[in-house]
Symmetry: C2
Subunit: 428 residues, 2 copies
């Protein structure tokens, strides 16, 4: 599906990647962004912060690529060798670049930091290089041509790389006269596994058209379905595929693009001028945190309760002490009372309450690790469900917090049908 | 710093890695496991599922390595090319391997599956290869020597790779007669940047010994300092370096290994049999979530309040409405009242309260985005501070939540000295 006339290689550097201390997610990010221009990466090489090795790789790779993106080694420490190596291979000097100095000064100024010697090193760049703006970090990127190969050096900090890639993509689109982005339609889902989704599509849509590239990206908590086409002529086919996917997965689709569950819930609340409150035991504040991570969340979310201990469930939310004692904290009546108490105290329109056994300890034969009761809804109508999602503690918290938000999303949308995970994650 | 006499390379294959749909975590897993034997990986190459490209890489890499681990391409589909490629480069035939067939039959038998043609393909291996057992999956690994290089082919499914690495490590330990692990000392810090730490060490300890490898891993919110040695004879030097680092960074060091701030705080609370409560506005539940992510957190953390709206700060925590109106939600008096209200309502011994402007909107000339008031301490003694940490919303929340936990850690340890970030992140 990609343009085979334009050869792209990646050269990644960093001892922390070689040692396995850090998992490299940058090269996947670069490949995905290049994919938007239908540019494929055909080879990537990763080495540690070693001058001779880097020189050798850079020299060899530049003879066999139209574009070489280097990643890492732009920072202020002695490990950061990229500028020095590119200069050596290009046969130019390292010099202080005025644009980079100005960038550093502005960066430090904004943060009330002094520009120290270590930071200043980041302005020492190969003579004649072009600066690639870093909209958020201290180290600018830079570019130089080696023979016929554009070499673009990018920072290892993922957020900085992400911010820089927009400009790099624009420049590549211009170079390749490919102003139209590859058309990628991304759909966010919750509650579907990658293999289940793949199997459902294979079964239901055996005649999937060649011109629409189907991809999946499984994350926690969401899973993305990607429909890519390389030419505008395939737009109607892409649209038809999207409708088929909609019909197949229905209300498991949260939205397009990067839509997050919390974002969708807040949008729906805002449309109605209503608010949600949270009463969390085993998720311990994660639902509130997922909501408040979204800018502007204060419109739909005013108050959250983390009631981790039994006496606190009573004291803060008015959960009946006898019920706690007789039925236990992980019970239907307790989550119902938590939800009611939270709505009453916060004056919110909707509530979600969760109480479960996150593990690794605390499970019993009756309520094993992974068991969780959820209550959700409005004052008029609260619903409950017991699920069992026996995975590692922090993944459990993530998936249950997402399920809680998903149930509120379904409530706000008036969806009555149960999600697939209700039957798959049924408690015994 | 690792054994440079034993050269290891990794060759990874998979279209899903090249496209960025999958982030490769396997190479980090392999590197970490090899690190246990003080074996470093010096280079890794990743290419798509392309026969010619793979043959070329394999041929070249085998001439420059003592060990080459290939990963991916062992499965039953047409994309899975590893056996074919290794056979071609070695100049041997592909043949059905009886041990692999027996493994497949046993694997299918256990699952009541029929051994189909696609699965049977996984037993077609290079003639003369040695089988590497796969304790959990259908595809066995296999090994062949090319020149002086051991080539070990491993599966791309992470859990299968993990299971297979135990046996590979045993075999390598035997080959290298190296039962002893490399000694790595890791220290977790908060409030130090990578460049600051590097600068401070360069300034204070110019005579850093060669035999102790110094590394940094900047994360959000913590930064790790790593001291690695390759032989037991360097242990006293490593210890001396550690003491120097302790003296230099002092109370910015949270602990050894993987210690998280929240974990340290919970440990200290547990030692005292005391509890902490949280009153969060701009961090929106993240402090509570960081605490409850730690197993066993229920001992030191019983209750948390997310009071995002002004009327909720009043209703839930008893913050004075006049104070809110006159001084604004982001003010010293408000965080003090939040902390007091939270302790009173939860009966906790300690509290931390935060109220700030997370952005991107909501800033003013007087209180720009990034401004935050913190209050922390016990009933007897609450302290406050205003900081300005103007970074992107979710990073702001992460850093401020960590700073809040750090102030509680310092309180519990009786540290009176101010952390470095108090002056660096001083509000105007």
């Amino acid at each position: 599906m990609s343009d085979s006339d334009f050869k792209v290689q990646l050269l990644l550097t960093g001892n922390e990647i070689m040692s396995g201390d850090t998992v490299d997610s940058n090269s996947a990010m670069i490949a995905q962004r290049l994919g938007e221009l239908a540019i494929g990466v055909y080879r990537k090489v990763t080495v540690g912060d070693d001058v001779e090795l880097l020189k050798k790789e850079l020299t060899a790779m530049a003879t066999d690529a139209d574009l070489l993106i280097m990643n890492g080694g732009l920072g202020p420490t002695v490990d950061d060798l990229t500028a020095e190596i590119l200069a050596a291979v290009a046969g130019v000097e390292i010099e202080e670049h005025p644009t980079a100095v100005a960038h550093l000064e502005a960066w430090c100024g904004k943060r009330n930091l002094e520009l120290n010697a270590a930071n200043r090193k980041q302005a020492m760049l190969p003579a004649g290089c072009t600066i690639v703006d870093n909209p958020i970090g201290s180290a600018v990127g830079f570019e130089l041509t080696l023979g016929n190969c554009r070499v673009i050096c990018t920072p290892g900090v993922p957020s900085e790389l992400a911010a820089m890639l927009d400009g790099i993509l624009d420049s590549l689109a211009q170079q390749l006269q490919r102003p139209v982005e590859r058309n990628i339609l991304r759909l966010q889902t919750f509650g579907l596994g990658e293999s289940t989704a793949q199997q459902m599509i294979s079964d239901a849509l055996p005649q999937w058209p060649d011109e629409v590239d189907l991809g999946f990206r499984a994350g926690a908590p969401q899973m993305e379905i990607k429909l890519s086409i390389d030419s505008a002529s395939a737009l109607p086919t892409q649209q038809r595929c999207r409708e088929q996917i909609d019909a197949l997965f229905g209300d498991h689709i949260i939205g397009e693009g990067d839509t997050l569950l919390a974002q969708r819930v807040l949008e729906l609340l805002q449309q109605r001028g209503q608010t949600l409150t949270t009463a969390e035991s085993c998720t311990g504040g994660l639902i509130a945190s997922m909501l408040t991570r979204i800018p502007g969340s204060s419109q739909g979310f005013h108050a959250g309760f983390v009631t981790y201990a039994n006496d606190i469930k009573h004291a803060l939310l008015g959960v009946d002490e006898e019920v706690l004692e007789q039925q236990g904290a992980v019970s239907e009546e307790v989550v119902l009372q938590m939800a009611r108490g939270a709505m009453q105290r916060s004056n919110a329109d909707y509530a979600v309450a969760v109480s479960g056994v996150a593990g690794p300890d605390g499970g019993s034969a009756e309520k094993p690790v992974g068991t969780v009761w959820l209550a959700w809804g409005s004052r008029d109508k609260l619903r409950t469900r017991c699920l069992c999602w026996p995975v590692e503690r922090s993944l459990f918290q993530t998936m249950i917090a997402a399920a809680a938000l998903d149930m509120i999303r379904r409530t706000l949308l008036g969806i009555d049908e149960e999600p697939r995970y209700f039957s798959q994650r049924r408690a015994r």
